[in-house]
């Protein structure tokens, strides 16, 4: 059961199975939404009063209606562009800072020891907790939103890079040193390639983290073309349709960026040996 047939022959089967799951989920959601339409109450008690016309599980038609409204009015497209640009800016800058810090802290022992307490500390101050501080220091504009993402991403990639370089098998490092490799050569040919896996997985975590941070960061000085505020507005007015459309859109964006990242990684590491059964 663990043995997998050759990848080429297996692909259609796995696709078929994935589609079966997708179909089942779609069908059960349709049934559940129709049943909820009939059975569940259509009002919800919020704090001090009832809100009417709330669908706990909205039907496909109402979701499509909401999606059409958001798309035709252009809110959705503009929000997607604005939020994605913010994430990409923060992610690019943050990963640059994080990876260079990671290389620096794994460089010499003394530097590693002196940076260690700071790294251990910052790893557990969630970037979100810095939101009030940043809005105090840098204002509530674009800068603090991006800096918040930069902080979160930088810490995670710093940890990943540092960990990856430290986990490099000592035999490789010693062999390279004995053969007369200089520092730069050692870093470029031994340390970075062997740390690539850790760096990459930390980048994936950081990408997801950037989206989480953004959703909260967009609540300061909120402007409407932004996914975070769209979700917040929808929840303030208890519009379940908008909430679900927003969640789906954000999920698709994160999934797409993850798939792009994996493709890039596989292309970059096609030289590596793979463990495939």
């Amino acid at each position: 059961m663990r043995l997998r047939a050759s990848t080429a022959g297996r692909l259609p089967t796995s696709l078929k199975r994935a589609l079966v799951t997708l179909f089942l989920i779609t069908l059960s959601y349709a049934i559940a939404s129709e049943a909820a339409n009939l059975l569940l109450p259509h009002r919800v008690f919020v704090g001090v009063h009832y809100i009417e016309d709330v669908d706990f599980i909205p039907t496909y038609s109402s979701l499509a209606e909401e999606f059409q409204f958001l798309a035709v009015s252009g809110i959705l497209q503009k929000s997607i562009i604005v939020s994605t640009v913010r994430v990409l800016e923060g992610f690019g800058l943050g990963s640059l800072i994080g990876i260079s810090l990671g290389i620096l802290s794994a460089w010499t022992r003394r530097l590693e020891y002196s940076l260690d307490p700071w790294m251990n500390f910052f790893r557990f101050t969630p970037a979100l907790a810095l939101l009030p501080l940043y809005s105090l220091w840098f204002g509530t504009g674009e800068i603090s939103k991006i800096l918040l993402i930069v902080t979160g991403v930088a810490v995670v990639t710093w940890l990943g890079t540092d960990h990856g370089i430290r986990e490099t098998p000592q035999t490789l490092v010693r062999a390279a040193l004995i053969l007369g490799a200089g520092r730069w050569l050692l870093l470029r040919k031994i340390l970075l390639p062997s740390a690539l896996q850790h760096i990459f997985s930390s980048l994936r975590v950081a990408l997801a983290l950037a989206w989480v941070t953004l959703i909260v960061a967009e609540l300061m000085n909120p402007r409407i073309p932004s996914l975070g505020y769209l979700l917040a507005l929808a929840s303030a007015f208890t519009k379940v349709q908008t909430i679900l459309v927003g969640i789906t859109v954000i999920g698709s964006l994160v999934l797409t960026s993850d798939i792009i990242a994996i493709t890039l990684y596989n292309r970059a590491t096609s030289w590596m040996r793979r463990r495939d059964g």
């Binding site: 079966v20 799951t21 997708l22 020891y113 700071w118 500390f121 501080l133 909260v216 379940v240 993850d258």
Partner: protein, 308 residues
């Protein structure tokens, strides 16, 4: 080895103290004649922007020691009612300050999320990693579910469960679940085939194979993932509390920011000092939980061969 550790500790301490001393120096610069400096620098060197170290200590003592009955300005929505738990009033009275109370509540949420979500994610990851069939059926759906940021689900959960503890804990459980599945999945899938073949040819099957081969071989990956899960749990907890908290450290940070915490008639907040104190104590508690996780991980994976 011992000398090396002592060296590490001393260098780390020196670095830490140098940083604190530098900060104290910079933050106290406003007390002296700095009119020679350019205006932008003078604007930054204000106690409201970079609070001096003694101010941080004063606010810390205030947040730790104020009796809870003195807290509660017009907009303060913390307190025992918000949690709804019967024991929370007792906890608050025993602990004293709002800071300990908030940190304890948040750590409880983190622990709950870690235990529940971790167990669920572990089970799910083993199933997906072991059976190709389950992997095929479930992985695409899981990939999409994992992509949804837990904080985005918060409002939908609230509509279902109302404004109570359930809807605060669910996103944390969900986040930890998503973070635990990946390392477990890879750990189980990448068990060296030689281990399995050896065990199977010696006649191990079913439960024996599971408890003696699969779980130990996957555990280094799972425990390495535990520290990531812990980080994710803290981030989600703080985010949830900031968005819809009512209490906990995220709410306290926000309250301090908005000037909602009153201590003996004095506003603690509005300035940066309260926020920084909260963030620093969050870091300390987070570091402590990570230390526990690290110790556990090292204890259970002592057998791990080098280079795995």
């Amino acid at each position: 080895m011992k000398r090396l550790v002592a060296h590490q500790v001393s260098v780390g301490l020196i670095s830490l103290f140098t940083g604190i001393a530098l900060y104290t120096l910079i933050s106290n610069a406003y007390l002296y004649n700095i009119s020679g400096l350019p205006e932008t620098v003078r604007n930054v060197l204000r106690p409201g922007i970079i609070p001096p170290t003694q101010e941080l200590i004063r606010v810390f003592i205030q947040l730790v020691s104020v009796q809870p009955n003195q807290i509660g300005g017009p907009h303060f929505h913390g307190g025992p009612d918000a949690t709804g738990g019967a024991g929370s009033a007792f906890v608050e009275q025993t602990l004293g300050g709002p800071l300990q109370y908030a940190l304890l509540l948040s750590s409880y949420r983190v622990a709950f999320g870690l235990l529940t979500g971790g167990a669920l994610g572990f089970a799910f990851g083993i199933v997906m990693g072991w059976s190709t069939k389950a992997d095929d059926y479930l992985h695409p759906t899981y990939n999409f579910l994992r992509s949804i940021p837990p904080l985005a689900l918060l409002s939908y959960f609230m509509i279902w469960f109302g404004h109570n503890e359930t809807h605060r804990l669910l996103p944390i459980v969900y986040a930890v679940f998503a973070a635990t599945v990946i390392p477990t999945y890879h750990g189980v899938r990448d068990i060296p085939l030689s281990y399995l073949r050896t065990a199977q040819s010696l006649g191990a099957r079913g439960r024996l194979l599971f408890t003696r081969v699969i779980v130990p071989a996957a555990s280094p990956f799972v425990l390495a993932g535990l520290r990531y899960s812990l980080m994710v749990a803290w981030i989600t907890t703080v985010g949830v509390e900031m968005l819809m908290g009512g209490d906990g450290i995220g709410q306290l940070i926000y309250d301090v920011y908005a000037g909602n915490v009153y201590a003996g008639g004095l506003t603690v907040g509005v300035d940066a000092a309260g926020i920084i104190v909260c963030i620093l104590s969050l870091g300390v508690v987070g570091y402590a939980t990570d230390f526990v996780a690290k110790t556990i991980a090292e204890k259970f994976t002592r057998w791990k061969p080098e280079g795995l």
